[in-house]
Symmetry: C2
Subunit: 315 residues, 2 copies
Amino acid sequence: MGEFELIRRYFSPLNGQGRTDLLVLGPGDDCAIERVTPDHHLVFSVDTLVEGVHFPADYDAGRLGWRALAVAASDLAAMGARPVCFTLALTLPAADPSWLQGFSGGLARAARQFGLALAGGDTTRGPLTLSLQVHGEVPAGTALLRSGAGVGDLVCVSGVLGEAGAALDYLGVRRPSADQQVLLQRYHEPVPRLELGMALRAAATAAIDVSDGLVADLGHILEASGVGAELDPSAVPLSGAVCRLCGPERAMELALHGGDDYELCITISPESWDALPASVRTQLSIIGKVVDGQGVAGVDTSAGSSGYDHFGSET
Amino acid sequence: MGEFELIRRYFSPLNGQGRTDLLVLGPGDDCAIERVTPDHHLVFSVDTLVEGVHFPADYDAGRLGWRALAVAASDLAAMGARPVCFTLALTLPAADPSWLQGFSGGLARAARQFGLALAGGDTTRGPLTLSLQVHGEVPAGTALLRSGAGVGDLVCVSGVLGEAGAALDYLGVRRPSADQQVLLQRYHEPVPRLELGMALRAAATAAIDVSDGLVADLGHILEASGVGAELDPSAVPLSGAVCRLCGPERAMELALHGGDDYELCITISPESWDALPASVRTQLSIIGKVVDGQGVAGVDTSAGSSGYDHFGSET
């Protein structure tokens, strides 16, 4: 099966998903063509996943398809961008039909859910490697950057933290309990906080997605903004399932340092917080405040990350 | 050396190259941000190069940096797009300082020459693999597609063909002759026809870059346009160096089927041809015409491509 046949057979079903109204020309020519809404900017990020480094050698193809697009789309959420389209650079050792069927199925489910149209790509032979570039757009000047945090801002985080990190201990379990299933679902099928990111556009002063762990990722905001943060450990949102399975101490450690949760960590002024719709506030926990200085204080920052080679994320 | 340090040390020198006026936010945040000129469309393409598949294991790092960006930028030339910026997804087995120095140097030279700003990327550990995505822009509705060729159009090609394909026989030569040097230069440092592509925007009916060989790539235009072509073999532009080294018969075979030349093959109406500035016409040879039917006639189409695993190119 040649490259053209492979693309036609497995990836054509993705055509028509997502923001095709902005995709002037999709796959098949030398380039794709995208229209950007007037007075908007293009926002884009690329993420690479390598077999044996970012996912195990026998990882389920459908989960990989979902996960690869979810991880990439989480960077759009962190900018407050509306998803538009993506490209897939797929390097494969062989054209295995059942693997391709599973992978493109997971990818198509994610593309539909996140509103991302397949714009193009490149399929080559070699060690299994995926590079996905996601495109979104924001009204000019409204993107959420890492560099805008100011002294006095609140530090907030969405959802609960630590579930994906805790899941690493249960990846091989054959009959997971209900609590273990919560963790595994979170690990295998992360959901980027796209709607929340867009809702925070006019309000947050800085944002990042939690891929490497709360302390590490909040640290990127603080460094880019030239400030520090004082966290209230009792306010860090823990997972009930993780507390029951691992105990509250380990749950706190995972919430601070576990990766792969893909929640949003933001800073926001108290006035803007008060002005947020209640439906947005309920998705966020206030966990501390921005202070003069540098680094994270108030919690144990000595522990490293989860120790697993997580799915990387860097622009 | 961690990922952040690696990027700072080797790729920061690329900051400031190219169309930084359109790059609202470069590397370092969750995403990059690009402004698209009003009434223009974004044009983009991704190309992957895998060690041992698209380039030999000991390939010079500086040449690889140039070549990777040139091959990707050639797709912008084929659309008539003006280059803007690019992302680099770089997977490396190890952070070898001398390799990184050479690679980023070749990449920086190409970025400067082609006017492409480094917008972002992802650096991961694994088998040596590069995925470059190039961004350009065109006035809305003016991009050169593969699908516009019409019966009666002239078929034209830029420059001379076959030199890069002929170079494959001399890659290991220690003291290349002057003719061999011409071929090797062409192979190692291809120059995408960016200015020519832009000059053909309002004139050509279809365009493609010659990466897989003239007959194969013209075939893509014909298939997308639903037409055929009759070529005049005596009009196919041969390389003097290739004729002297390989004889005229082999030179013709390489001109028709050799890859990696990165010239442009276009179709254009006779009226538009006559209206082209002389400075543009002199860069092109008329090699045939578009006819009813399908496929390429008038030349030997039986030979395959060069047989070497060339640097791939597909959107």
